[in-house]
Amino acid sequence: ANDDAAGGDSKTIRVGFGVGLYEQMFRDGILPILEDEGYDVKITSFSQNLQLNPAMKEGSLDLTIFQNTSYMDSVGAELGSDMSRLNFIPSAPQGLYSDKFKSLDDVKDGATVTVPQDPATLHRAMALLESIGWVKTNPDADVATFSLNDVTENKYNLEWKSLDLAQALTSLADVDFAVINGNYITTSDRLISSALAVEKTMDEQTQLITSVLTKDLDTDWAKDVASAYDSQEFREYVEGDDTYVGWVMPPNWK
């Protein structure tokens, strides 16, 4: 809802989605609610995540649903865009998968590990690997520009294979281990539970969110979006659909 749209009676919300299943979740679970409330929702989907925040900054989008808090903050600083989290949404957790090995203990020196290319997702992936003690990362690294150069300690001399997110699963057979985003597991015939390691808890920083420009935080439409995600109706949809098995639910749902 840009000024003339939101301020008027038309109640238009322009939502942008990036990589992942969040658009589908929105279409199935949120859109019906908003439409009942009389909103006209315009959806733009992006095949990569990078242009969403700039688009919101320039006013082409009202709402983006693709990122987590740390990325939003970090990119916001980079872009000079004042964004805020509206609410948390169910998120697909990253996991460490392998077709060759059954246990984390099978890791050998020089093993090959697939990691994501984009900074935010790579940042999460390294956090996961750090949690199982395989690496250490520079604690001062910025999420928005996080790269493999920020890996400070590599206990097993792991050889990184930096691939496109979707590619990680496809090429699992060619590496020893792969960090794969939950949404890819969900849409494949695998289970998140088959991971050797999963992001144990997604904290405030890594849980996926809906984000808006801070100035829009208190608008009616923003509140309506937030309450749609918190509604019983939406919870029932998520819990009743086996797409979301193994996903991490918003902290406030507990």
Binding site: V19, Q24, S45, F46, S47, Q51, S60, A166, L169
Partner: protein, 219 residues
């Protein structure tokens, strides 16, 4: 098999978007590429109106634009895109970088086609006192038409490939559907259908191009 997440409406929308991306960008690309290609041929050393200054600007400019990977080009020109179409996202916004991508490419193909025209034709034109514009318009372009048609066919198919990247700025289209659902969500049905649609697009354009070129060549 029919287990897919994509609705018929999404398919239709994507087809329409691809039509728009392809049609508008191609027209735009030709509007840039054809004159640019002609310029390269006309001003090159030994050309119709040799002009070192113009050639030495136009030639590297084409190279520079062609150097930039498309995805980077899309992002790099966002301020320009916004200036032109008022937004940096969506189908219309994707068209601007697509034009910039395909224009210089078309320029090179045009250049190559025009250079193949028999020198005797240019001589005949010169002997009639034809102006550089007339030489191009009345002699070079007609003589190169069949080759130009095949070049344009090659270009539009290349452009179709590039439209698949329109999703980076939310441009949509069949190719993006293939990437987002087929590639990123392992939706085999979408993959197969989108590729089939693309194949039909390409086959249709190539057949039309071949037919038109043969028609012009009269064989």
């Amino acid at each position: 098999m029919f287990n897919t997440q994509v609705t018929l409406e999404q398919f239709l929308t994507s087809i329409a978007q691809t039509g728009q991306l392809l049609g508008v960008s191609f027209v735009g690309g030709v509007l840039i590429g054809l004159p640019l290609g002609i310029l390269l041929v006309a001003t090159r050393p030994g050309g119709i109106t040799p002009n070192k200054a113009v050639y030495n600007i136009a030639n590297p400019v084409v190279n520079i634009v062609r150097s930039v990977p498309f995805i980077i080009l899309m992002v790099a020109i966002i301020p320009f895109t916004r200036l032109i179409v008022g937004t940096s996202i969506g189908t219309t916004a994707a068209i601007v970088p697509l034009i910039l991508y395909i224009g210089p490419f078309i320029a090179r193909l045009v250049e190559n086609s025009l250079l193949e025209v028999d020198r005797g034709i240019v001589e005949a034109a010169e002997s009639m006192g034809a102006s550089p514009f007339q030489i191009i318009w009345r002699f070079l372009l007609p003589e190169a038409t069949s080759s130009l048609i095949l070049s344009m066919t090659t270009a539009i198919i290349g452009l179709l490939g590039a439209t698949a990247m329109a999703g980076v700025v939310g441009g949509g289209g069949i190719g993006d559907l293939a990437i987002v659902f087929g590639y990123q969500r392992f939706d085999t049905f979408v993959m197969v259908v989108t590729v089939a649609i693309l194949v039909i697009f390409v086959q249709g354009m190539q057949s039309f191009g071949n037919f038109a070129a043969r028609r012009v060549r009269r064989d």
